[in-house]
């Protein structure tokens, strides 16, 4: 009896003890918000400003605290103290939503995820403050970035003229054209075939891959064309469809002479599906391209002893870049092939602005706002962007050696050590994308120029990408589109429904589950019930207002 009562009392005591006054670490929501929006009268320039910041926690950074080189650098340079709210990458959105909806958010976001709808929503509620004035006064590098990349300014400015969030921007040449197909050129040589340039030639080439035993082992184990799902442009449908009409797996909306439309219900799409169906039915397109993930495709590509993969669709880096002159060097980018109607396009993703990462909330004091903008401004400078990516100078990046060349063959601007490859596992940076890396900086990294070696892979990618530039589409629907918050939810649901509809039907036609001749019309008609008209209308209206 006694023991039980004592136990109960102990528990109650402990519980009440912890519900007392707010504990130690200073909840990020409360810290540093003396006087919120107002200015503190006497601004002591020497005072260290505490910055409560929300950011993504990186797998490779062991600490963000005092032992982190970038933290030390930034704290010294700007006289601040960082106070982190860390989240693992796949939970950023969830935690951000919880913190914001519950009112328990920190003053600053360096690693948030704010899409256009979020920015308008929080901007309107004045939870995120406009950054325009701060940028004008304290952010010269940011302003410069707006000038050199006008689409950036366009993508961050909300219809009310305010900028509520800044993204990280990296002008990565090969990423703009990442919807690629790679083909095994040794097999082409072995079979005495040229690089195919039309859909018919592609068909014949893939057929030869499958039947003529290019790996020479007497077995029909070749996989002509494969891909991966849930990976960087890995599904073959899109690359192949571009020989018939424009197709991008990032957005099903297309722009034809300023008019917003979808291509997925047109006759050209049907022709494209017919072609892909043919490849699938004859075993030239690996069905597993639609079910395997990146690991599965890599397994095919890295098949021990014998090469079995003829071609694959995706961004890059398959087979494993393991050694100089390794199997990976057998594969080259295949420019898009010309379809029967002369269409020859490539998926283009340039000029797009990602979700905002940086934001200042209404909980930040004036000093915190200024410091934050200054830090971000630093990351928008050339040196700062390298600090963000690799760590501070002489720790993560260095001045280039004599005669070093960059990706584009021009003299290198810097040389750097990739954070994820560091053997010393030193926490040198924060591994957040909040930086501005224009093309010239991206290309300025010292690279090996020999494209058969692993350290020349970046150059290899850039050169391969050159092949695709002539086929860039005339216009693409921009990714940064701003909607009225009242419509946002309905449009979000419609977009999800349409995306699912297009994707599932495409593979059903390709795999033969649905018959293209018999069921195409029903498929086209099905768009009516999804709210497609409403969706296109809303997008057209937004596009006209924002981009014309």
């Amino acid at each position: 009896m006694k023991k039980l009562v004592v136990l109960l009392f102990a528990i109650i005591l402990i519980l009440t003890a912890c519900t007392g006054p707010d504990s130690n670490t200073g909840n990020t929501g409360n810290a540093g918000n003396t006087g919120n929006k107002g200015n503190s009268a006497a601004e002591d320039k020497n005072k260290t400003v505490t910055l409560p910041v929300f950011t993504k926690q990186s797998a490779v950074i062991s600490t963000y605290g005092e032992d982190n080189d970038l933290t030390k650098f930034i704290q010294d340079k700007f006289n601040v103290k960082m106070e982190w709210t860390l989240v693992s990458e796949d939970a950023i959105l969830e935690k951000q939503n919880v913190l914001l909806a519950s009112g328990n958010y920190p003053a600053l976001f360096f690693g948030g995820q704010f899409n256009q709808n979020d920015q308008i929503k929080y901007g309107k509620s004045e939870i995120l403050i406009p950054l325009n004035d701060l940028i004008a006064e304290y952010g010269p590098n940011i302003s410069k970035a707006f000038e050199s990349s006008p689409y950036l300014l366009k993508g961050v400015t909300a219809p009310d003229g305010n900028i509520y969030s800044l993204p990280g921007l990296e002008e990565c040449y090969h990423c703009d054209y990442a919807q690629k197909m790679y083909i095994n050129k040794e097999w082409l040589q072995k079979l005495n075939l040229p690089m195919p340039t039309t859909t018919d030639e592609l068909y014949n080439t893939l057929k030869a891959f499958k039947e003529k035993d290019p790996n020479g082992n007497g077995k029909k184990d070749e996989i002509a064309l494969t891909g991966a799902t849930n990976w960087w442009h890995g599904e073959p449908t899109y690359y192949l469809m571009n020989s018939f009409t424009y197709a991008s797996d990032a957005n099903f909306l297309a722009l034809n002479n300023g008019k917003v439309d979808i291509n997925a219900d047109k006759s050209e799409w049907k022709e494209g599906l017919t072609f892909i169906r043919k490849l699938y039915a004859e075993g030239l397109l690996d069905p597993q391209a639609y079910t395997q993930n990146f690991d599965g495709m890599l397994k095919v590509a890295d098949n021990p002893d014998t090469v079995i993969m003829g071609a694959y669709t995706g961004g890059c880096c398959v087979p494993s870049i393991d050694q100089d002159g390794g199997r990976w060097s057998q594969y080259e980018v295949l420019p898009p092939v010309k379809g029967p109607n002369g269409v020859q396009l490539v998926g283009f993703f340039g000029g797009n602005v990602e979700d905002g990462q940086f934001a200042i909330t209404d909980k930040a004091t004036k000093e915190q706002q200024i410091k934050a903008i200054q830090i971000v401004d630093h990351f928008y400078s050339q040196e700062g962007s390298l600090d963000a990516m690799y760590g501070p100078k002489d720790i993560g990046w260095w001045d280039p050696k004599e005669g070093a060349l960059g990706i584009d063959g021009n003299p290198a601007l810097y040389e750097a050590l990739e954070v994820y490859s560091r053997e010393d596992k030193q926490p040198v940076t924060w591994d957040i994308n909040l930086k501005y890396t224009p093309a010239v900086v991206f290309n300025g990294r010292a690279q090996g120029q020999d494209m058969t070696k692993t350290d020349g892979y970046e150059k290899f990618l850039a050169v391969q990408t050159d092949k695709l530039v002539p086929y860039k589409p005339a216009e693409i629907f921009p990714q940064a589109i701003w909607f009225n918050p009242d419509d946002a939810q309905k449009l979000a649901q419609i977009k999800t429904d349409i995306t699912n509809y297009i994707n599932t039907n495409a593979v059903q036609f390709i795999s033969g589950q649905k018959d293209l001749d018999k069921e195409w019309d029903a498929y086209v008609k099905g768009f009516d019930g999804l709210g497609l008209e409403e969706f296109i209308k809303a997008n057209q209206q937004a596009y006209d207002e924002q981009y014309k």
Binding site: M1, K3, I11, T25, S88, V98, C172, L298, C316, S320
Partner: protein
């Protein structure tokens, strides 16, 4: 088992026993095969893993994954935190669970139906993440260790299980006898029920311990500071390295390095994270021996 050798086993019994062994053997193989794959992959060269050369034996054995993991200073802290949350949590959880499950098992408790309904209702209706977060916040325990102990302090599921156990394994006659002896309710509980509850408590401890050890979501939501993170959070960042399909990774070198890191570490991480709970199991298991309950009763 000597008692069984006295009476000869009938043929049908032997066949049945053989069948049981057969089925269990198949289960063993089917479950063990992928497990061996995981363990072998954790000590194989990552290129072998990527190429699919590893089945149940390691290929090009290397312990680099484990050495990488153990080099991390965060790991030790994560382990420590996880132990604190697990042990602390279990103490609170088992106490609360038994405190309510036992009275609910007593037929004489007026209103137990209502109380049970109150509990069960919460299993299927919930205020949602944000209201719960607000309550936790108002308790002042956000970003403290209590945030991982209080919100999950009792699982109704476990209460129901425990209640069922109490109901089925403690006959009414025992209560009558105890009352005749002049025992108070607390007395009955302390001197009679608790000693008999070993299997029940063992189950509760195991399930709560496992849940606490694996808990990732609560830690992610309620904690902000690195130093409080349990093991699962620290490991998760590596595990998800290659499963973010929407992210465009511009730098192939980074992408390749991340891919290698993930492949190298993910299997070893599973082993490292699960080892404590796996080792814990045999200790709990001895409480499930046949006749445990009644044995202690007779004693």
């Amino acid at each position: 088992m000597t008692s069984q050798s006295r009476i000869k086993e009938s043929t049908s019994d032997r066949v049945f026993l053989g069948f049981i062994y057969f089925v269990l053997s198949i289960v063993l193989v089917v479950v063990a095969y992928p497990l061996l794959n995981v363990v072998s992959s954790s000590i194989s060269a990552s290129s072998a893993v990527t190429a699919g050369r590893v089945s149940i034996f390691p290929v090009e054995p290397t312990f680099i994954a484990y050495s990488t993991i153990f080099e991390s200073s965060k790991l030790l802290m994560g382990y420590l935190n996880s132990i604190i949350y697990t042990v602390g949590g279990v103490i609170v959880q088992v106490t609360l669970t038994v405190l309510i499950a036992y009275p609910l098992a007593r037929k004489q408790l007026y209103g137990r139906g209502i109380i049970t309904a109150l509990l069960v209702f919460t299993m299927f209706f919930s205020g949602g993440l944000i209201p719960t977060y607000l309550v936790v916040k108002s308790l002042g325990i956000l970003d403290t260790r209590w945030a991982l102990i209080i919100p999950g302090a009792m699982a109704v599921f476990q209460v129901i299980i425990a209640r069922t156990f109490f109901q089925t394994t403690i006959p009414d006659e025992l209560y009558d006898a105890a009352e005749l002896d002049g025992c108070s309710e607390f007395g009955i509980f302390r001197r009679m029920i608790l000693p008999l509850s070993k299997p029940i408590v063992a189950v509760l401890v195991l399930i709560y311990a496992v849940n606490n050890w694996n808990a990732y979501f609560e830690a992610m939501i309620y904690l902000n500071s690195e130093r409080l993170f349990p093991l699962q959070i620290i490991l998760r960042n590596i595990l998800i390295l290659n499963t973010q399909p929407g992210k465009i990774l511009s730098d192939p070198e980074r992408m390749i390095a991340m891919q290698e890191m993930a492949t190298l570490l993910k299997y070893a991480l599973i082993v490292v994270a699960s080892l404590p709970v796996l080792i814990f199991y045999p200790f709990i298991q001895k409480y499930f021996v046949k006749g445990m309950m009644i044995g202690s009763l007779k004693g």
